[in-house]
């Protein structure tokens, strides 16, 4: 017993010391690589489901991955595979035969996917795949014909755009799909840490489509390209013929995988260098979006003001988010509550999601997507992704500094402020109406001084333009975009199909053996130096246009003309944290507001292009083409029912208001000068006056409170209206002062109304209908003539009847019309925050705000007249003194004497 106890104690001590020493060891060891992949070892199968080790054939992804995963389900639930094929519908007039990469015409890549029935072959299916293969996962149009049959069973024919090819000489040749093979969905592309993209690309470019997927494995110690077929590396496989999982590192897609097709992604600490303007990085080329956690100033790019750019490229990348965190597989159990869509309103969480094993068998590859302007494939999945508001509570994060949070959030997309600037160059325009000697269009870029691919070019970045985006739920927000303008020749072929002029034809028209054709040089060489300089390479004269048309006509192209379009490209990445976002009121609420900030579209526009409408963006501004051909976009926010205080104004309305004010000013000055002159001419004795207590204390108090409120309201209103003229004031402080004074004014008006009702003094303000016009005319006559002659006021001021008929009329108008109008419009404008639907019932801010400004002008005019008329008392300052002290010297009218004393 005793012995056993000792044994236990010793054993425990030994194990404890072993534990502590091993713990100590761990502390010292270098960080271990954690297990990255749980994927088991698996057999690589060929197309006949035979292990590649046995057959020596290339790998078939559908067979290999299909051993466990439902590859049919995956292929049919993946728009990355489909690329628009299932919606393929050829059309004579529009060039987009599908909403995806397979069929949608992209004026930047220019090549047109020829439809059957087209006169000329531009891109056949095979050449489309060779050209775009880098961005084609496989499956879909890479294995299936437009009619849904396997490509391999199609009969080879030079006349069929699916089974032919334009050769180097420009002639149609037949394409044999059975020989080239087709390209299955390439699972490796997204699920290997480092698929061999270069080898894959080489196979695709060479038209060896069936080799592409196996080529992705080259260089991973699994397979090598042998002289004939593939040589599989036995050492990478287990004894049972399974490839070792740790060799391939099968994993969930990382940002780097997405980068393979979409744009610049840069993890790690190596300084980032941009592939700017390169359409192989389309998202970066078209918008300047770069996904990297690196600080911008740590990049290897030649930025203007680089030292200060201490923000990261993208806060979400910095915070270690992955593309798939927002663009997730819809049936992923981790995200399924978001993706399952409609559920009872009371339900916050639905526990009934797929088990992980079911998900892994049939993962839905129709990844959650947003509503960007440039991607149209799989429209039924638009708006499924996690957006800003799915993770962030804007009220909590902005509540402590941003006034009118809800108003801002209802008008402006998060991106508008949180993507204030793009730091990589982006394409500005492609002009395909002319070709450079290298066969490329005239390209221009924004955000860079010089060529974007040149490391010496200074990268300045650019500010996106804000356009109205209409969301699926019907709301519309201002969101940031890059605008890309393209110009190109179109023609109508013999079959009546309107098509872009083929690149082959364009090159034939412009070039002759690697140099410009003689006709072209004659037409374009304006300064006769024998070369076509950059300034000459543009269609800016009818002669140039005619010369190109003639060359195209020689090639048999009919009805040739130039068209152009402006396409918006959504900017949703490169998000900045609050401190680097737009957080100064005046960035928007002032002249030069981001909301009204335009965008330069092209240095030279051969024609006025049209705004592309195939998206959810409203280009409601103006496309302005200057005489020199330069093209601009100028937003028209008011047409989008966006009214931004300090930035939006109706010029004519301000003019009208100012006119009323200036007219009053001149009237008052003129009248005053005449009065002064008349006063000097006239012999003046001492007018008989009497001191009367006219205004009691409350009356004086409410008058002056109202007067001060109105004057400061007018001044602060002016600052809010034109902050650019008064930028010494803090915009938000002025807005808050305006609101406080408005509240004060309303309370004061209500209390004084109560006072007047309670004391029956209200009747003083009501013009007496009896003989009103006679009295009014008498008073008017007095102001027009009597006042100059030194006549006494026609109506005597008394504590019970202080106002003359005209005064009563004016105050009646001011108090019953102007003041209520101003209060109601002001309250509605303030209430946009809380009751936006009430304001919008009255036309929203675009109606209310100009109205409020107009009434303000009238108020200002009234005050001017009012103050002037106070000088018409016994002495010029007597009336004001009366309103201050309550006692005023009043002219004594002989006949009214008795009444006044009564």
């Amino acid at each position: 017993m005793n012995l056993r106890l000792w044994a236990v104690i010793v054993g425990l001590l030994a194990s404890a010391s072993a534990l502590t020493s091993s713990a100590a060891r761990v502390t010292e060891s270098a960080p271990r690589a954690s297990i990255k992949s749980l994927h088991p070892d698996f057999a690589l199968l060929d197309a006949n489901s035979v292990n590649v080790l046995k057959s020596g054939q290339g790998v078939s992804t559908t067979r290999t991955c299909g051993q466990c995963h439902d590859t049919n389900f995956i292929s049919s639930h993946a728009f990355h595979v489909d690329l628009g094929l299932r919606s393929y519908a050829p059309s004579r007039k529009t060039w987009n035969s599908s909403p995806g990469l397979f069929g949608e015409w992209d004026p930047l890549r220019y090549r047109f996917l020829t439809q059957s029935g087209d006169e000329r072959l531009d891109l056949s299916t095979a050449e489309w795949l060779m050209l775009n293969g880098k961005r084609v996962v496989g499956g879909g149009p890479a294995t299936t014909s437009r009619s849904g049959k396997p490509l391999t069973i199609l009969k080879s024919s030079v006349d069929d755009p699916e089974t032919s090819l334009l050769n180097a000489a420009g002639n149609r040749t037949a394409w044999n799909w059975s020989a080239s093979g087709t390209m299955e969905p390439n699972c490796f592309l997204c699920h290997l840490e480092r698929p061999n993209l270069a080898a894959r690309m080489a196979a695709i470019r060479a038209g060896r489509f069936s080799d592409a997927n196996t080529a992705s494995l080259l260089g991973l110690n699994v397979v090598e390209a042998g002289a004939r077929g593939w040589t599989w590396n036995r050492a990478a496989f287990t004894a049972g013929g399974f490839v070792e999982s740790k060799v391939l590192q099968i994993q969930a897609p990382t940002n780097a995988n997405c980068a393979g097709c979409h744009g610049e992604v840069h993890p790690g600490t190596e300084p980032l260098n941009l592939h700017a303007g390169d359409l192989d990085y389309p998202q970066t080329a078209t918008t300047g979006q770069v996904i990297s956690s690196q600080r911008i100033n740590a990049s290897g790019v030649n930025f203007a003001g680089k030292n200060q750019l201490t923000r990261s490229w993208d806060i979400h990348a910095e915070r270690q988010l992955q593309c798939t965190d927002c663009h997730y597989a819809p049936n992923n159990p981790a995200h399924v509550t978001v993706a399952k869509g409609r559920s009872p309103a009371h339900l916050r969480y639905d526990p009934r999601s797929l088990d992980i094993d079911k998900y892994l068998q049939r993962p839905d590859h129709d990844l959650a997507r947003g509503q960007s302007a440039q991607f149209h494939v799989a429209p039924e999945y638009k708006g499924t992704m996690r957006r800003c508001e799915n993770c962030h509570d804007a009220t909590a994060s902005h509540g402590n500094w941003l006034p009118y949070v809800e108003t801002h959030m209802a008008a402006v997309a998060c991106e508008s402020c949180h993507i204030p600037k793009m730091y990589a160059p982006a394409i500005q325009s492609y002009d395909w109406t002319v070709l450079k000697v290298d066969g490329k269009p005239v390209q221009s870029y924004r955000g860079v001084n010089g060529a974007p691919e040149d490391a010496r070019s200074l990268v300045t970045g650019f500010e996106p333009v804000l356009l109205k985006r209409t969301n699926l739920d019907g709301t519309s927000l201002l969101a940031p975009y890059n605008l890309i303008t393209t110009f190109y020749w179109v023609y109508e072929d013999a079959n009546g199909n309107k098509r872009p002029v083929r690149l082959a034809d364009l090159q034939a028209a412009f070039l002759d053996g690697g140099a410009y054709a003689a006709d072209i040089v004659t037409a374009f060489d304006g300064n006769h130096d024998g070369v076509i300089g950059p300034a000459e390479l543009r269609i800016d004269t009818p002669q140039k246009e005619a010369a190109v048309k003639a060359r195209l006509a020689k090639l048999g192209l009919q009805h040739v003309r130039i068209e152009g379009q402006v396409q918006p490209f959504s900017i949703n990445h490169n998000v900045a944290r609050g401190e680097h976002a737009l957080n100064d009121c005046r960035a928007c609420h002032a002249a030069g507001s981001r909301v009204t900030q335009g965008m330069s579209l092209a240095g030279f526009a051969p024609v006025l292009p049209v705004f592309d409408t195939n998206n959810n963006v409203t280009g409601s501004g103006d496309l302005i083409r200057q005489n020199d051909g330069a093209l601009f976009y100028r937003p028209g926010p008011i047409r989008d029912a966006v009214y931004v205080f300090g930035a939006t104004r109706l010029g004519w309305l301000d003019g009208l208001g100012a006119l009323a004010f200036v007219a009053t000013l001149f009237g008052v000055i003129g009248h005053g000068v005449l009065r002064y002159l008349a006063f000097k001419k006239r012999p003046h004795g001492h007018a008989l006056t009497r001191r009367l207590h006219i205004y009691d204390a409350y009356r004086r108090f409410w008058h002056w409170l109202q007067a001060i409120s109105i004057v400061i309201l007018l001044l602060t209103g002016l600052v809010i209206h034109r902050p650019d003229l008064f930028d010494v004031f803090s915009f938000s402080a002025v807005v808050s002062l305006h609101n406080i004074l408005a509240a004060l004014l309303v309370i004061n008006a209500a209390l004084s109304l109560f006072y007047h009702l309670a004391t029956e003094r209200l009747q003083e303000y009501i013009p007496r209908p009896y003989g009103f016009f006679d009295d009014a005319i008498t008073q008017a006559k007095y102001y027009v003539s009597g006042i100059f002659k030194g006549e006494p006021h026609p109506f005597e001021k008394s504590p019970d009847d202080r106002m003359n008929p005209l005064q009563k009329l004016t105050y009646f108008g001011v108090l019953n019309v102007l003041l209520p109008l101003q209060i109601v419009t002001g309250a509605l404008m303030w209430g946009v925050q809380k009751w936006p639907e009430v304001a919008s019932a009255f036309g929203g801010l675009p109606v209310l705000a100009p109205f409020h400004s107009l009434v303000a002008w009238l108020f200002a005019s009234f005050i001017l007249g009012h103050v002037y008329l106070t000088t018409t008392g016994a002495t010029p300052l007597e009336a004001i003194r009366g309103m201050v002290t309550g006692d005023e010297e009043i002219e004594v009218h002989e006949e009214g004497d008795g009444d006044a004393m009564a």
Binding site: V26, S34, K36, Q294, R319, Q320, N400, F701
Partner: protein
């Protein structure tokens, strides 16, 4: 009317009605953390060129002159560790009696120990006269070396036994006295362990003229001196090193919070880190950013005949070593204390490395935060029979550096250290941790998330499982404290 115009009251009431709600409703910005305002403002030091007069033959002559005016200075200094070279007496769980820790009586991972080597080691002691022996030296206030910290280091230098070097013009040195500068402190603290940057990975001669990129406090526009953070009252300098202490009272430690208080990070996400991550972890991104620091020292190779000396790899008197520069620190939980500090005579760990010190803290310790350390690994001699580390006489008379005989060096040391030597020695691995607190980077150069965290499982600089986490807390969540 001579009476006061009453309408003024009305106007004031109106003004109040407008202004009070306006001021009340103004958004109040949180108080901006103004670290710069908390940097101490020091008096301009009196120029002593015309005050100090006389001829000085010895250091003690200078001190006597200083003490004429600064009567308490010597007494104050003699209470500090710069003089005593040891801590206050503390109790440790593995010893019955209270112990003191310091260069005076303990060993470190570099030149091992000072006892018996006073002729050389005391070059960095703020006192003269070690040839008289410890007791006599420590008793004499005139032995206080004012010049070590207050003279212009370009004029003053120390030689044997803590005394001024023979070539020094003591009068000139005495006239140059002033408040301490980085140069004064740097003389010992930048060159500790026998050369530039040897000991500390975060203090070296590059800090004499630092740029902002090297140290945001000492470099760039701030140009802080050591004493701006190591606040000094009556010669007591704030700040303790875990290398020479067992536990440290937070009141005696320098902290970032001396200047950086309140909501230091605008970014809430960074703010959530502060309970578990020390400021240094993100703001000191690398050790030995400019000058290399010694990371490994193998004494067992010392004394080999015929090997060529090379400052960075081998010296016959010291053995083999390696340096590293601009490298990633070792990260440990740290609550400011040591879990263990090797005391002379402690048994070594025969199965693995012996820790000279081991920072205290764990994931379950609420006071502990993840902290960057320089780990210095050495191979030191130990007594094979008695099982403790041996402290040789190296620089002392007839020491190892003279005749390269280890046995003789240990026998010489035995009566000095009081540790018996069995006659058999070998070498064992010893670990020593140095807290990394200098060469601080500004926010725009500090570590970013991906230095430690990764969504893809890419290993970062923190070994989460070794720190006690189930995995990267960006996915697994942070530590849960009671």
């Amino acid at each position: 009317m001579s009476r006061f115009p009453r309408w003024i009251f009305g106007l004031m009431a109106i003004g109040a009605l407008v202004l009070i709600p306006f001021i009340y409703l103004q958004p109040r910005k949180p108080e901006a953390p103004d670290a710069l305002a908390r940097v101490p403002v020091k008096r301009v030091h009196v120029d002593h060129h015309d005050i100090v007069k006389g001829v000085f033959k010895t250091g003690q002559d200078v001190t006597r002159t200083c003490l004429v005016c600064h009567k308490d200075a010597a007494a104050e200094l003699m209470k500090t560790t710069h003089w005593t070279w040891e801590s206050k007496a503390v109790t440790v769980p593995w010893r019955r009696e209270a112990v003191t820790i310091g260069k005076i009586n303990q060993i470190n991972n570099f030149c091992i120990g000072a006892q018996g080597n006073e002729n050389k080691c005391m070059t960095c002691h703020a006192g003269y006269g070690w040839e008289a022996g410890k007791a006599a030296q420590q008793a004499n206030a005139e032995n206080v070396d004012c010049l070590a910290c207050h003279a212009d280091p370009a004029i003053y230098g120390k030689g044997l036994f803590g005394n001024p070097a023979d070539s020094v013009d003591l009068a000139a040195a005495a006239r140059s006295v002033r408040a301490t500068t980085r140069e004064n402190c740097g003389k010992c603290h930048f060159d500790g362990g026998g050369g530039n940057g040897v000991k500390h990975g975060d203090l070296d001669e590059s800090l004499y003229f630092p740029g902002r990129a090297l140290d945001v406090h000492m470099g760039g526009k701030h140009n802080l001196q050591c004493s701006d953070c190591h606040l000094t009252r009556k010669h007591q300098i704030l700040g303790r090193m875990i290398a020479d202490n067992y536990t440290i009272d937070p009141a005696e430690q320098v902290s970032c919070e001396q200047c950086h208080r309140g909501k230091v990070h605008k970014d809430e996400r960074i703010g959530t880190h502060l309970k578990s991550v020390a400021c240094q972890t993100c703001h000191i991104t690398a050790i030995a950013r400019e000058e290399p620091t010694k990371v490994h020292w193998d004494w067992s190779k010392a004394g080999e005949e015929g090997r060529k000396d090379d400052h960075y790899t081998y010296l016959k008197i010291k053995g083999e070593f390696s340096y590293e520069s601009n490298y990633t620190p070792t990260y440990l939980w740290f609550n400011g204390n040591n879990e263990y500090r090797y005391l002379l005579g402690d048994p070594i760990n025969r199965k693995g490395p012996t820790y000279i010190n081991k920072p205290a803290g764990s994931i379950r310790d609420p006071k502990a935060r993840i902290f960057p350390f320089k780990l210095h690994v050495a191979k030191q001699p130990f007594d094979k029979v008695n099982g403790y580390l041996l402290q040789p006489v190296t620089a002392g008379k007839d020491g190892f550096w003279t005749n390269f005989n280890w046995n003789h060096a240990f026998e010489l040391a035995a009566p000095i250290t009081g540790l018996a030597y069995s006659g058999q020695y070998d070498f064992t691995e010893t670990y020593m941790y140095w807290a990394t607190t200098h060469m601080v980077q500004a926010a725009d150069e500090a570590l970013q998330c991906d230095a430690c965290h990764s969504a893809t499982g890419k290993p970062g600089r923190l070994d989460w499982t070794a720190l006690g986490y189930p995995g990267d807390p960006i996915k697994w969540g942070g530590r849960k404290l009671p």
